[in-house]
């Protein structure tokens, strides 16, 4: 079985978000870039499967749409345990553009399971996995919280509104994954970091793709007013305020 994981490069989740150029651009000066947390969990699960199933998992490939600057993130994925990587050399402008680039790069290759994160910690499009699946005319299953392979069959749990379903899925398909697929991301070991330097990273030229959306301006949320404090002794007053003033309870 061949597994592909789509990874994107996002600001570290502890980043304080700021904008520049009249709020038209993200201020990147203090940003640390990381693998999108959902994608990192997807990769972790693929590595866990390879560790338990051995040769049955023929290869783990990661693919990223990004400029040369995203290569440290790709190398980190290789250090975690991916076997090889593909980088589509394009600025990831918006979801449809990225999904199109991925589909173009993937369609001539052969994968059984393509993993994508449910959401991304930057623009929260929650969209690239599904769009790519449609462009590839491939089935997709969304919000997967567990993925197992037994005797060549793929079993998944997916969260739906109001419950969890256990499913058997035929390959090939796009698995859009969320928290639960793995718990803690795999930390690269020194040996992995050394090996990552020589693992294949193929750079492919971008396809001609349209953008359907454009973020024209950003704004930060309104600052909150001061917090009104109460003590253990006057919890009753708080309840009174919530009931009579705020009318919330």
């Amino acid at each position: 079985m061949k597994i592909l994981i789509c990874i994107s490069d996002v600001p570290d989740t502890t980043t304080k978000i700021k904008f520049t150029n009249d709020n038209k651009e993200l201020d990147q000066t203090e940003i640390q870039w990381i693998i999108n947390p959902w994608d990192e969990l997807a990769l972790t699960r693929a590595i866990e499967l390879k560790e338990s199933l051995g040769e049955k998992i023929e290869s783990i490939t990661v693919i990223n749409v990004g400029p040369a600057g995203s290569e440290p993130t790709i190398r980190k994925a290789l250090a975690m345990g991916a076997d090889n990587a593909i980088r589509v050399d394009a600025d990831p402008k918006e979801s449809y553009f990225v999904a199109y680039q991925l589909a173009e790069a993937i369609k001539s290759r052969d994968f059984d399971i393509i993993l994508a994160g449910l959401d991304s910690a930057d623009y929260n499009g929650a969209s690239v996995g599904g769009m790519m699946a449609e462009l590839l005319d491939m089935p997709s299953v969304s919000a997967i919280s567990a993925l197992n392979i037994e005797n060549g069959k793929v079993f998944i749990n997916r969260e739906i509104e109001g419950g969890t379903q256990k499913l058997e899925a035929q390959t090939p398909f796009v698995a859009i994954v969320q928290k639960g697929i793995a718990i803690e991301p795999k930390i690269p070991a020194m040996r992995g970091i050394m090996m990552a330097r020589t693992k294949p990273l193929e750079v492919v030229a971008p396809a001609n793709a349209d953008c359907l959306t454009e973020n024209i301006v950003y704004e930060l949320p309104q600052p909150k007013g001061a917090c009104r404090k109460f003590t253990e002794e006057n919890v009753n007053e708080l309840v009174d305020v919530l009931h009579k003033e705020a009318k919330l309870i």
């Binding site: 978000i17 690239v128 299953v141 969304s142 739906i160 509104e161 917090c227 009104r228 919890v235």
Partner: protein
């Protein structure tokens, strides 16, 4: 021209989020002089379908074919795309939840229609089409311009509100989607339903606990408070990672993003990743014994104290109000 709303039901009843979606769609429809059509999938009673009209749908399209009994993203997308074409829909609106996130991106790619997910208000302009959405997990907003003729939106919950159900009885029409002939790649083995419990993403009030709760044995206090308030329960990432609570309760950057009317945070220090998941809450109440906890910076009301003393007091005082 029409607006198409995906009207989701839970166990045969339409959700509040669906009524909010219709209220929102009607507002947009007024601005562009269009009609709202609601799409309902699976067998639903006529009384329930009529409700969609009361909240703004002129017409309800009902799909009851067996092949859509199980949510298959690809099949559903083909069916919805057929309907979009048939009804000449220009804006298609989904809830910003697991279902919307499963379907909206596929539909967007199929129709080559720009997708904006997690929108928080009506468009600020229709030509060009510009609309506001959350980005960086609630840490900021973006105004997004959509250049395609057809637009797909997912609406962030509790961002618009529900109008009075004063609309007329809708026209109800069956839709067979005969053009969809492919087979699903998934087979359902079993379902674990959350029954009798308020869904976190549907709840107006949420009571949530962090590592400051010290252990799962103290969660009965959270549950009792949630009980008297008719609230859902939630937790932070460390709590679900430790296995004190199930993963589906994890709220924050990599968990669920929620926007309740009232969020009560107990023993939660307020890490930036957690704040991202709750910052759209209308009112935040924080209970923490550390006066420097960052949660107080985003809270509207705070109680400085130990949860073991505060929570039972809070529950008792609320019970008194509810009883009176």
């Amino acid at each position: 021209m029409t607006l198409l709303v995906y009207a989701e039901n839970r166990e045969g009843k339409f959700k509040k989020a669906t009524f909010e979606l219709l209220s929102y769609a009607e507002e947009l429809a007024k601005s562009i002089n269009a009609d709202v059509i609601a799409l309902s999938v699976n067998e639903i009673s006529p009384d329930e379908l009529n409700k969609l009209g009361h909240y703004g749908a002129k017409k309800v399209v009902s799909v009851t074919d067996e092949k859509f009994a199980l949510l298959d993203n690809k099949l559903y997308t083909s069916m919805i795309a057929n309907l979009v074409e048939k009804e000449n829909a220009e804006i298609i609106i989904f809830p910003d939840n697991l279902t919307g996130r499963a379907l909206a991106p596929r539909l967007s790619a199929k129709l080559k229609a720009g997708l904006v997910s997690g929108v928080v208000s009506a468009p600020s302009s229709y030509d060009p089409f510009v609309i506001k959405k959350k980005v960086f997990t609630g840490k900021a907003f973006a105004d997004v311009k959509v250049s395609s003729a057809i637009k797909v939106l997912t609406l962030s919950q509790n961002s618009f509100g529900i109008k009075d159900p004063s609309g007329d009885t809708p026209q109800i029409e069956d839709f067979k989607a005969e053009a969809v002939s492919e087979k699903s790649n998934i087979k359902l083995l079993s379902v674990d339903k959350i029954t009798g419990k308020l869904l976190l993403t549907d709840a107006e009030i949420v009571v949530s606990g962090g590592r400051g709760m010290r252990g799962p044995e103290n969660w009965n206090m959270i549950e009792e408070l949630a009980d008297v308030l008719g609230a859902a329960t939630a937790c932070t990432r460390p709590v679900s990672d430790e296995g004190w609570r199930p993963h589906d309760e994890h709220v924050g950057q990599t968990g669920k993003i929620i926007a309740p009317v009232l969020y009560i945070a107990c023993g939660i220090s307020g890490a930036i990743q957690h704040i991202g998941g709750i910052s759209s809450s209308k009112v935040i109440v924080a209970i923490n014994k550390d006066p420097d906890a960052p949660i107080f910076e985003v809270a509207d009301y705070g109680v400085l104290g130990d949860f073991k003393n505060v929570l039972p007091e809070l529950t008792k005082a609320i019970k008194e109000i509810k009883g009176s």
